[in-house]
Amino acid sequence: MQDMKKLAQLLKQIEDQLVVCMRCGMCQSVCPVFAETGRESDVARGKLALLDGLLQEMFNDSDGVQERLLRCLLCGSCAANCPSGVKVLDIFIKARAIITSYKGLSPVKKIIFRKMLARPELFDRLMEWGSKLQGIFIKPVDELLGTSCARFTSPLGDRHFSSLAPKSFHRMVPYLNTPAVDSGMKVGFFVGCVIDKVFPKIAQAVLHAMKHHDVGVFIPKDAGCCGIPALSSGDTNTFNNLVRYNLKVFSAEKFDVLVTACATCTSTIKKLWPTLAEELSPQELDRVKDLAGKTMDISQFLVEKLGVREAAAAETGEKTLVTYHDPCHLKKSLGIAAQPRTVLQTNPAYQLREMTEADQCCGCGGSFNLQHYDLSSAIGKHKRDNIVESGCSVVATSCPACMLQISDMLSRAGDRVKVKHAIEVYAESLDKK
């Protein structure tokens, strides 16, 4: 039998956050997982009650609670809607870490997180190897759980993968350091794993846009993963190492803003680095806070720092209809929804048409998709239906993880809708100028 008293002790650190939940049940109206299953253990209220149960030593082991805790997209819909202001994501992530540290990380995850993710050069090489051997992937990589930037590695089942790009972005651009020109502005560019390995074209679009605006760009050699895969699996150790590692490589240069084109990376850096990274020296913590403070989503940067505006309406001619999907990590955790829409409307060849429930989660949720593929697909199916119903031929979004899920859903249904990143649509308009 597990020592539940000890676990309860460990969980004490989240008690003050747990008691904030008044069990009103309002989170039932927004949780995508609950909408599919109707099970209380899938909604925030249920999970919080279970954690409370662990804290009160009501269970003989933590397995059941842990399993249910992992049936969650970490989409933050509940937190964004909670009348009581419960910091649901903070609680869930901390609880995952506490339970994992108490039970120990599974050996496979240990290899993956500690040996691979935490060592970017090694991880990169493995992925390249993977991209050459698509379809006959090695077992440990299949089990690379817990991550939005990892699910593309699994060649299981009938899912329609966006395959690994033949050449990842860091091969094309291993290092970049261009000065600020007329704009007087320089950015650090945090590429992120999924863009690097699956959608290098998004990173190219970012560079294209920066060049167009004469913005200097710094990309360090061997930049690491933002750490969310490890963190959401409860491996704080690897997370801490990654935060420290990224801090180091990005302090090599001075820049005004750290931009990313991945909603998940943005929200991880902004919200989780400063609050959840541990064992940092006070100086390091200050630097993390400084970096988090100047991190921006690429559309937000274009609109707020470069003053990009919608194109004048008068344009005539055939327009491509585009609809926009709000990534949870952008809208619900950071409140960014208008800026990407503005960016889409800079391109006169497109016309924006909203789908219903544009901010409904696509159901990806990193490891959730791997472990609960059917549930994830059921949630994704609603997104697919809304996209198709909008009658648009392009769906744009701001997160490569959402793009993976949406592509999977659309292609399985045989729809001919293109999936693009907002910055790609923007970059296309620059081509024509």
């Binding site: 003050d16 008691v19 904030v20 008044m22 069990r23 009103c24 049940g25 309002m26 039932q28 109206s29 109707g38 099970r39 209380e40 253990s41 209220r45 249920g46 009650a49 279970l50 149960g53 009501m58 269970f59 059941g64 609670v65 399993e67 249910r68 009348p83 009581s84 202001g85």
Partner: protein, 460 residues
Amino acid sequence: MISQTVIKEFESILGKDGVFLDETDRHTYSYDAAVLEPVLPSVVLRPERSEQLGKLVRLCNENAIPLTVRGAGTNLSGGTIPTKGGAVILTNALKKILEINSEDLYAVVQPGVVTAKFAAAVEAKGLFYPPDPGSQAVSTLGGNVAENAGGLRGLKYGVTRDYVMGLEFFDVNGEIVKTGARTVKCVTGYNLAALMVGSEGTLGVFDKIILKLIPMPAGRKAMMAIFNDMARASETVAAIIANRIVPATLEFMDNFTIRAVEDYSHVGLPVDAAALLLIEVDGHPAQVEEDAAKVESLCKEMGAENIRVARNAEERDKVWEARRTALSALAKLKPTVVLEDATVPRSKIPEMIQALEEISCRFDLTIGTFGHAGDGNLHPTILTDKRNKEEWHRVEAAIDAIFDKALSMGGTLSGEHGIGMAKSRFLEKETSRGTILFSRRIKAALDPKGILNPGKIIGE
């Protein structure tokens, strides 16, 4: 404990997926929105079709298994806590809107339909279902009927009871009972629906509900009246009604609540005001203009410092956003929120508000008061931390004092949140010993083994 044989039978009715036995899952059906101790059920059942529901009820009765029906579990009185263990039956898979009839103005629904979804579906047909409890985004219609839920529009439009035209429910033997009809008039048999509304799952299990719909009012106008004096605000409520104007909504907010809302949502409320009234009139556009003008001048006469009339939909939304965020704003201040709903005849509102202030001082507690002033249903909201035992005792004493005060004014224990576990011990105070015995005899006749939500409302 429930025998393996019975569990097998549950599984043969629902399939394994509809029967939750795992301790972890059961744990998540041990509470609701009331601040009460959780109790674990032995099994949780999730029927997807109505005939399954009937079979489950019969099986529970045959085996004397206590049975608690659960909608969204948002009631504030412990109505879905399975105090005797046994089975919890979930209705959230019975969620079909079976019919919306725009010619005869009624709808037929299954009990697990979510209130707001239903209201939206009805509105899409140009019709109106007025009961709008604050929990409508998640609450179920079955739960609304079983609690006789109210909402912001109670003053003019009444509460859930006023919209129940008919019911089909399973009695404890799993036999279907029909009452009421799809017609406006119906005198066929006893008026059982009246008995079932507000019965909190103690007399039968709803399977179908026939709800009355009304045409959507063509116009509406909202305004906010600001007062520097609490008494003036509450007297204005009485004055509006005395002048034979019936606003759709007439809501009150005290200074503490105003400040909490403003801190939280920055909607531009006057933080120095002693009290606010939020008023909306609706109906035929000409009537709306006339009523709005009358209300405005009444408020002025009664000494309102300032009146802001919403000029467009956006401003109207702002007014109601302020009200809707009241509970959230208060809830964020302290870990535990006790939302009371003792209700008084509306002429007694000024007196009640004064009494609440005294109670808050006497027990040294933070109480924010807002609510449906127009129908006398205030929500004194006590902010506390239930882990602080000493303070919690004072909270309990304050609740008793609030009840006593409301009753002494000819009011009632609960305007809309129900009795459940939380208030059953007070029931006799409001009614009489005879009332309880009479109710228990009805209960005993309809549910001889006492399996339907035992212990709720009338105790045991």
